[in-house]
Amino acid sequence: MSNSILRSVDLEAWSFSRQVLHRVNFNVEENKILSVIGPRGSGKSTLLRCLNRLFEEKAGSVVSGQVYFDGQNIYEPQFDLFALRRKVAMIFSEPTLFEHLSVFENIALSLRLNQVESGAEIGVAVEKALNKLDLWEPLKDSLHKSPAKLSLGVKQMLCLARIMVLKPKVILLDEPTSVLGLQYTMLFEQFIKEYSKKVTLIMTTSSRKQAARISDRTAFMLNGELIEIGKTSDLFMNPKDHRTEDFLTGRFG
């Protein structure tokens, strides 16, 4: 596929002796949203973590197969892991801000990783990132305070701001709205829909409706296998595999 930014070939993963991914082959198109759905324990989060090599950080984990990012296999030994993780960034299900650093420092940290060292430049970039998420006005007087007491929704949006200044090509979202209320879920979805014009997004979600609402393509996983992947409308309206149909119609999961 000409506009594919990520491609996995025979991707398999083990956690200790248990195989958690079975020969996963798929393409991710550039500047689209791909949702990964499936019941709990189906391997969705493992798949995401294999795409930025975070899975292998866990004790007892083994990965085999290839993942091509911009045409290069990220599992080659000489591949720059730190650069990869800035280009294939990640948002977790719960906000993971560093609460011992201030709001400003959390975002500035990412800027420093992108070699932005000048104080003035950092200040402008932080304001710009917060403005994009409509957070500048509510937070401009609390920039140098800890984010510990902010609401989960604002924290998650700040995680997004922290990622945005890294200027990633792909963002992995691991059930990013699972702890958010309705208001912030809608804001979050609205923002990533808009942002997907510039960045590729791969999102796991336990909500079939959310996948149907915002994604261009959807993949269904079960017991570590990628059962089916296709255009969201096709997968929801005409699933090819009976297991996909069973899941979508609520027979299990």
């Binding site: 950080e57 866990k58 004790a59 993780r85 990640m90 977790f92 011992h100 990783l113 800890s146 890294l166």
Partner: protein
């Protein structure tokens, strides 16, 4: 090492695992020796030598038992901590394990050797040092465990390298606690060591004699006040280490 390879542990983790495995083996060997000695003296030489047994226990128990008491729980819990990786159960298990096995037996042991075996102040101080080490280790394992759960994966996902993680995640988070503990330990050691130095610790060979001198000195020497003052500093440092309210790490620095 084979277990470490199977678990895909890092170099540091493997060394730690090996060291603590070794500690377990040493502790077990020591226990076997104790049991065999008991058997030998009681069964083969009769009860007449019971005093010898007590003497032998008294001379070794002060130094070895605390080490064993520390080695076993630390070995077990740290191994569990390493294996369980990011599982919160590992952390809470470790915390309670250290609390129960690390402190109370040491405290009881301290009382035991002080009262029953008429132990010297040297042994009591030794117990308190071990207690402080146990407490500090528990605190640091708990703090580092929090980082492991909440921050490390996030930091790695941002592409922070090892030095950036050390600075932004560990140093920025813990430098106040760290400095505070260093100061407390410094005063603790100062408080403990100075009286021994003043009493000519380095000129004497017998710990028993030094302890007697210290005891004697506390009662009669004109240096009593200064010695007492240093001991007060020492116990004040201990109190600081044990004071749960003094958690610098939880104070917001922004």
């Amino acid at each position: 090492m084979i277990a470490a390879q199977k678990l895909r542990l890092g170099k540091g983790q493997s060394i730690l695992l090996s060291l603590y495995s070794l500690a377990i083996v040493c502790a077990l060997i020591y226990l076997i020796i104790v049991i065999l000695t008991f058997k030998h003296i009681l069964l083969e030489q009769g009860m007449a030598d019971f005093k010898t047994l007590l003497q032998w226990l008294k001379s070794t128990v002060i130094f070895v038992i605390p080490a064993v008491l520390i080695a076993i729980p630390f070995a077990g819990s740290l191994t569990f901590f390493i294996i369980s990786d990011q599982h919160p159960m590992g952390i809470s298990f470790l915390k309670s394990f250290l609390k129960i096995t690390g402190e109370f037996p040491l405290l009881l042991f301290g009382l035991l050797i002080t009262l029953v075996l008429r132990a010297t102040p040297t042994a009591v101080f030794l117990i308190y040092i071990l207690l402080a080490i146990s407490r500090l280790t528990e605190r640091w394992v708990s703090l580092l465990g929090e980082v492991k759960i909440f921050h490390l994966e996030s930091a790695k996902s941002l592409g922070l390298n090892v030095f950036q993680i050390i600075y932004y995640i560990y140093w920025r988070r813990f430098y106040k606690t760290f400095l505070y503990h260093v100061i407390a330990v410094f005063f603790l050691l100062l408080g403990l060591v100075t009286p021994f130095v003043a009493l000519g610790f380095f000129d004497e060979n017998s710990p028993q004699l030094i302890a007697t001198q210290l005891f004697f000195n506390l009662r009669t020497s004109p240096d009593t006040l200064s010695t007492l003052f240093l001991i007060i500093i020492c116990f004040h440092s201990l109190r600081l280490i044990f004071d749960e309210k003094a958690k610098f790490s939880e104070v917001d620095n922004v």
